[in-house]
Symmetry: D3
Subunit: 253 residues, 6 copies
Amino acid sequence: MSTAGTAGLEGLRYDGRRPDQLRPVTIERGWSKHAEGSVLVSFGDTRVLCTASLTEGVPRWRKGSGEGWVTAEYAMLPRSTNTRGDRESVRGKIGGRTHEISRLIGRSLRAVIDFKALGENTIVLDCDVLQADGGTRTAAITGAYVALADAVTWAQGKRLIRSKSNPLTGTVGAVSVGIVGSVPLLDLCYEEDVRAETDMNVVCTGDGRFVEVQGTAEGVPFDRAELDGLLDLAVSGCAELDQLQREVLEVPK
Amino acid sequence: MSTAGTAGLEGLRYDGRRPDQLRPVTIERGWSKHAEGSVLVSFGDTRVLCTASLTEGVPRWRKGSGEGWVTAEYAMLPRSTNTRGDRESVRGKIGGRTHEISRLIGRSLRAVIDFKALGENTIVLDCDVLQADGGTRTAAITGAYVALADAVTWAQGKRLIRSKSNPLTGTVGAVSVGIVGSVPLLDLCYEEDVRAETDMNVVCTGDGRFVEVQGTAEGVPFDRAELDGLLDLAVSGCAELDQLQREVLEVPK
Amino acid sequence: MSTAGTAGLEGLRYDGRRPDQLRPVTIERGWSKHAEGSVLVSFGDTRVLCTASLTEGVPRWRKGSGEGWVTAEYAMLPRSTNTRGDRESVRGKIGGRTHEISRLIGRSLRAVIDFKALGENTIVLDCDVLQADGGTRTAAITGAYVALADAVTWAQGKRLIRSKSNPLTGTVGAVSVGIVGSVPLLDLCYEEDVRAETDMNVVCTGDGRFVEVQGTAEGVPFDRAELDGLLDLAVSGCAELDQLQREVLEVPK
Amino acid sequence: MSTAGTAGLEGLRYDGRRPDQLRPVTIERGWSKHAEGSVLVSFGDTRVLCTASLTEGVPRWRKGSGEGWVTAEYAMLPRSTNTRGDRESVRGKIGGRTHEISRLIGRSLRAVIDFKALGENTIVLDCDVLQADGGTRTAAITGAYVALADAVTWAQGKRLIRSKSNPLTGTVGAVSVGIVGSVPLLDLCYEEDVRAETDMNVVCTGDGRFVEVQGTAEGVPFDRAELDGLLDLAVSGCAELDQLQREVLEVPK
Amino acid sequence: MSTAGTAGLEGLRYDGRRPDQLRPVTIERGWSKHAEGSVLVSFGDTRVLCTASLTEGVPRWRKGSGEGWVTAEYAMLPRSTNTRGDRESVRGKIGGRTHEISRLIGRSLRAVIDFKALGENTIVLDCDVLQADGGTRTAAITGAYVALADAVTWAQGKRLIRSKSNPLTGTVGAVSVGIVGSVPLLDLCYEEDVRAETDMNVVCTGDGRFVEVQGTAEGVPFDRAELDGLLDLAVSGCAELDQLQREVLEVPK
Amino acid sequence: MSTAGTAGLEGLRYDGRRPDQLRPVTIERGWSKHAEGSVLVSFGDTRVLCTASLTEGVPRWRKGSGEGWVTAEYAMLPRSTNTRGDRESVRGKIGGRTHEISRLIGRSLRAVIDFKALGENTIVLDCDVLQADGGTRTAAITGAYVALADAVTWAQGKRLIRSKSNPLTGTVGAVSVGIVGSVPLLDLCYEEDVRAETDMNVVCTGDGRFVEVQGTAEGVPFDRAELDGLLDLAVSGCAELDQLQREVLEVPK
């Protein structure tokens, strides 16, 4: 278990953090005995269990291409939130938000995958939110990357992946930023998130380039200067997460 | 029927447009005899039928608040695309993409609504793609705004909306931008969209501020300079759409 | 675009038509750039978009038979009617009326298809009601026939259909008839339809034979003389539609 | 248990019947101890269990009208047919044919109901096919009428229906007719049904008027003379069924 | 049709039976002309139609094993009970109770099947409750066994089963027991079932061993002595059912 | 976090336990910050997160009764098992096994609830399996009881429960037993479970009485002596779990 804590100084934020400060982030590898890669990731009180399931073969539309596939499914436990939500399995359909986040996680991870090097293998990342306190999708992406890396290493050990080039072309992480009371903040907790005038999720590679930028004006529209400020914050937050992911992965599992 | 055509000069793009040029955009009001507002919007060969249905009352969770509600549903006809897709009604569930776009349209329109001034009325915007050639969601937002404006005017005439302040706090429009062959392009058609390295949908208010920014690296991640270039293009495209919306709405229905 | 207008003389009907008079019928071919055949058909204010999608191959149960297949799906846009209806895709299931009409359209078209001559190709007719004012199913059948004919011609041009005999063994069209205030009327509009004591949909081939006869007593049962009168009206209306279909198809697309 | 047998003379039909001869029809009342009305109806080997469930109150859209409602649901047991069919409950949706027949049965029964006299009561007719051998929908209508009549009598006894006028304005029955090998036949069994060139279901009131006429050309379209011949046969078959229903209902339950 | 009646002496039970007395049980073979085996079984007023459908081949996961498969589906007709229940096909999903009982019936029958001797054949047992008065699942198991036996005999006659050893390794039957007013009772009818403090379903083979034991405390938990008393009752009831099944099957169909 | 470990001596079992020995059982209270009660329970490698959500009010059918309600939902994370399973939310329906276990957990907990004392409050127990290694339903019941107890205490503190009598009338726990290689074993792990000839789940109250007994012959039926041996084992295992639950709950949260 690795922890990336940064002490807060000023009492400005709900939990005493500086505007540009991440919550304590922990990434616990090898959480499940069954999955090829598994991680329990925490961004403060947000806890997401990410498992990577690798199977030989690819979906039908990709057969014979010599290329692999990576996809993701996101879900929240019914009581991961303050008020219990209905189970989507009981309602019989998946809501729009769940769909949207599952697709975002999948796209984010595929941005750092060399499908040729992966070979005809499929990796499914399951990201189940055990406790939610804002930033569940960004925690999921950040943790899922580590689970994915472990699954790739496992498959290389089993000779299911035989390519000499690394199927992972880089690291990927994500963080939320937002404007609360006109102040741009990094890594919003739930209390900040519900008050944010603007809310943005940014997915970056370890070298600081963008995979996804999703900004939404919750109340009033935001101007270009505000957008620029949020992007600056997000890039620095992602750099910190990249550093943590590397440290965590250096420890042999 | 109003048309915002701009002639293309160079042969650079698939259809001869300049990189910063919109496709011919038309917004035909009053397309349906039943709906309180209805628009057939075209961005080139992309054609979306947008209807606004206004009913008195609001969803249960909003009752007694004195505030209205605006929501949207997006769908594609099965053969609006090059290859016929299954009907979501036949499959029995709505796909992630459909959900995602419906939610985007709803959020975009709500950004320019004063719910107090709307009163306890609900407006549903149905955006049905009759023919798709890239940019269906941005055409939908742009057209739906005009249908929404017509429904608001209708309701004011019927005294269903009685507030003196305008329920519409501004205009809203949207356009796609993307990087194709390293060149930033405005308003991608389908052929460009499938080749884009980066794809971004930007929703702006008439005064040039952002409601939504959704950028995705399809292949390689994009850097900050590329992001800035795309945002510049999008802002200028949205300004052109805002101009067109205003012209179209000046004509009495 | 072709129009079959017939001027009304007496003020007897809701819209001034004579009892035996069709509404203005238009059949606009080539409405969609993607579909192998596509038609926007209008019976007065009823507007249905009919697209024909041809794909090589047949459903599994028909493989190896050397015979093709033709099927249809009917749907109404949510605000095609006076009051917005729920989307069947959102409700997660198709209603009985939708099912019933889809099946009727499919059976009607198959009545004029020589499956051997069609070869192992499948044609799906999508009939989406853009605006409803009574008679949507009969407009759909009448328009879908023209879209089907265009798809067949297209496939012959592409050599996907190579038989020397024509896969189309005749034309097919449909019209509604009904008794309103004891008077038998041809081609009911919505206002007439809701007041009809008896409502009948009749599908005829161009040579005046019956493919489907579906008569329903909405209020009091009808007797044999009334039934005979309605059939007479329907046969003459279908003959007019057959004439229009032939004229429209004579124009090269 | 009552039986309406008619002896066959010539060997013309699959089971030796004359062209204008019904199969042996039996209507067994009081089959279920729970339902307010219940009937096991047989048309030859076709056996349908019809139960009428009467509850006080009406659907929301009819509340306060002082009028009742009658509706029906039809289904087949999985092995009522020669080959086992999937359960619709397991597939999770109802097929088009099931929907269509349920609606037909409901409409047919409502044609002989005076909703005012019924008062704000709802009667649901469940028609479950225990064994199928052609004509399941016509047997269902014929039997459901008797179950409906018993439920009405029960409710009158319980003073749930207090109107002095009879909620039943007449009897209703149904029979299939078809053209097999150019010969018009009454009451097709399965073997005849699959070979029929034209297939028609006719629902009549006891006084010989039509409630529903549904004719379909399975192969070649049919002409007016053939249609007239089929209608004649159907009317005489329905008269026989009406006679049987009356006899059966005369016996006190 | 065979009947196992046992006369009641004391007025202790709702229907005058002794505590250790079964209701009149009848097993009518050959009820359906289509199914390979079919039985209408009654335990008092509980009536269940059990059909056995045998098809060559097995589900995909069992292909090539040389072994067969047996499964079951249980359902209740909507008005088999005192109050009409919604159809599961209409609701679009199967309830927990239905699932549970279907699985129980399948497991019970598989306990007496030699899959090798059955060969690669699949038998589906459909158990549809026509009238419910308590003990529907136990009646279903008891009747389904007889339908299964008839289907096996049919398949041996058709040489679809060619093994010399009998695919049926024994008989299987089931009965409910429960404690009502502190008295252990055999074969509860509905009135007893709703009042039972403890309710137990026991599935036994003909030689008195257990296949399933499912006991549930409805109100207060039960102790070991009560459990033992209930098991004694159940074993004797199953022995009686085994006797009846053998008698019924001795008669040539 | 509390642990009930018992050291294994002989090498007889897969993991070295004695036949009558539980796996190490831990019950960690207060796992989630949102739920009114929450427990992470482990039986060896089986880990289940149990949360209790208390809301004021009861389902409609219970309103005005003055009595509360307790229900449960069980689910497995897709990769809690050795091979990834499809999400039931994605498949759009809940499987029979899930339904069955959810119902079992609910019944088990209701057996120790005094609904009058609970008042009109509803408690939902969500039992989500994070890692599965046999005995997930028994771990769920054992852990859910503790979460339920915490929720009741919480509600008493909030004065949502005001009765002077304890809503909990006792403790409840569950354990699996089975016969593997003719030896009766307590608390089967997955490897033992798949090899078991007979498998039984037993739910007991703290005073050693039975709430549920569910025994299934997987291969050969079991006789009365085997059944008795299994019940003895289960009762002693439940007594150990009861002891652990009491110890864990003594610690103030």
